[in-house]
């Protein structure tokens, strides 16, 4: 995404301004952001979290705390970087829109740890077989249904072994 100000550099700073109830969104490059005084010694994320509606100045009554690192919503991010992997879960709501702004989307495709990949493949296969079983039963193809049911059983037993 290009900087909305100079239309030359990549925008790295995103800022919502709320003036007299009118909200405008700014997507700026580092340089333009600095010249607007948006980056005075703080980082992209520290700025992001000053956005209205995301994190007020400590006025929230219910405090979220990360179960792994003990960070709360005021300090789980420092200099644009997140404290621990679990923070991504603990503060998923707060992180959703910044991540979307960086990458343009919030859905990973590509490599995955082998264990999870196996589980996912198995789950997809099971879903498919269950659908086939339903179809077979509805069409009263009971012989076929029995075969599919055995396949499902095998697959599920297999999962327990691993």
């Amino acid at each position: 995404m290009l900087c909305t100000e100079c239309k030359k550099n990549t925008a790295t700073v995103f800022y919502q301004q709320n003036i007299n109830g009118k909200t405008t969104e700014l997507c700026l490059c580092q340089e333009c952001a600095e010249s607007h005084g948006f980056l005075t010694g703080s980082s992209l994320f520290n700025e992001l979290f000053k956005m209205p509606g995301i994190s007020g100045a400590g006025v929230k009554s219910s405090r979220k705390i990360c179960s792994l690192c003990g960070s709360d919503e005021n300090n789980f991010i420092k200099d644009g970087k997140v404290s621990c992997p679990v923070c991504y879960e603990s503060f998923a709501d707060e992180l959703y829109s910044p991540i979307k702004r960086i990458h343009g989307n919030v859905s990973h495709i590509g490599r995955a740890p082998a264990k999870l990949k196996k589980q996912n493949d198995k789950k997809l296969k099971l879903d498919e077989l269950k659908k086939q079983l339903n179809d077979a039963v509805q069409k009263e193809e009971y012989e076929n249904a029995a075969i599919i049911r055995d396949k499902i059983r095998d697959l599920e037993n297999n999962a327990e072994e691993n």
Partner: protein, 335 residues
């Protein structure tokens, strides 16, 4: 062999190809928030997974040795500067490296000479698979590999190609490419020198987006842009050389002459002259220098590597510039 020790595909324009994967281990805070016990545990787990790799404890080697790894692009400057326990795992031919406890627990990287993104990716994946089979990675189905900096979420992969683009720089054609690259989710930056001002006309082009696009797609997108740049750079070199061949020959041969006869050369001056030498070698204007020594020369003339190889690390700038000049002279004189 390390990327600078040999010549790969398209080496007149491409110096090296690198794929880096950022990985973290479940149940530990990211490296900067990690206590010493946690760091040691992660180091042990990784050493165990890659038991045939050489282990270099970064806290036990000198700052000059660390800097030399930076100059060889084997580690990041941040990794060299870290104060907490951190080790480097290196395979025998120094193409594969894992930085343990950089800002992410693991930075897996593979660097190959010339244009070899697919090979670098395959090597990085192999290391990734080996570690994956013995640890549990921090990963979410939705946002992929969890990383300290949200800009690496998703694949955690940064693929990059180091390119030598003198003709596109001098004709300012590179400026036009730069804005197109941004739209494609790619970043171009100078490799040597401050900020965006590249010295020696050496640039790094890499992907900036890591989510919503597979590793293979990212690599093929990068590769096709790199191929376009290669073709364009070659065509422009030809044009420049046709336009004013004599003046170009004179300029490049003068630089080559200085490199061979100077008594003192700063690294800044070296980079400038190196670019002329490299261009001259690839254009056939400087025929008596073998292109296979260029990578080694580039790395070998950098301050820390230079002093380390000569085993005199305690010298001032003047002595170092003298050492550099004699090193270069040795490299360029026929054996």
């Amino acid at each position: 062999m390390a990327w600078f020790d040999n010549t790969g595909k398209e080496n007149d324009v491409v110096l090296s190809s690198r794929v880096r994967l950022a990985r973290n281990i479940k149940d530990y805070p990211f490296a900067p928030m990690l206590d010493e016990t946690g760091a040691r545990e992660i180091i042990e787990k990784t050493k165990h997974a890659l038991d045939d790799y050489t282990v270099i404890d970064m806290t036990e080697i000198s700052p000059i040795e660390r800097q030399s790894y930076v100059e060889k692009h084997i580690i990041s400057p941040a990794f060299a500067a870290s104060g907490t326990p951190h080790v480097l795992l290196l395979n025998e031919d120094r193409t594969n490296a894992v930085m343990v406890c950089e800002e992410d627990h693991l930075r897996i990287q593979s660097i190959h000479s010339g244009l070899a993104l697919k090979e670098a990716f395959a090597s990085a994946c192999e290391i990734d698979d080996r570690i994956d089979s013995s640890v549990s990675y921090a990963y979410s189905d939705k946002i992929g590999y969890l990383t300290h900096c949200p800009t690496n979420l998703g694949t955690g992969m940064r693929a990059s190609v180091m390119m030598f683009l003198p003709a596109l720089t001098q004709t300012r054609m590179l400026n036009n490419y730069a804005s197109q690259l941004e739209k494609l989710g790619l970043t171009l930056r100078g490799m040597y020198g401050e900020g965006s001002q590249a010295s020696a006309y050496i640039y790094q082009i890499s992907n900036s987006i890591t989510m919503g696009i597979t590793e293979e797609e990212t690599i093929s997108k990068l590769e096709s842009v790199v191929n376009q740049l290669i073709a364009s750079e070659r065509k422009t070199r030809e044009k420049l050389s046709l336009n004013d061949h004599d003046r170009l020959c004179d300029k490049l041969m003068r630089s080559s002459g200085i490199l061979r006869s100077a008594y003192m050369i700063s690294s800044k001056e070296f980079l400038k002259l190196f670019a002329d030498l490299k261009l001259g070698v690839h254009l056939g204007i400087i025929p008596d220098v073998d292109e296979s020594i260029l990578g080694e020369l580039l790395v070998g003339a950098m301050p820390a590597t230079l002093m380390l190889e000569a085993e005199c690390t305690d010298i001032d700038d003047t002595e170092r510039d003298k050492l550099r000049a004699s090193y270069i002279k040795g490299k360029l004189s026929p054996v």
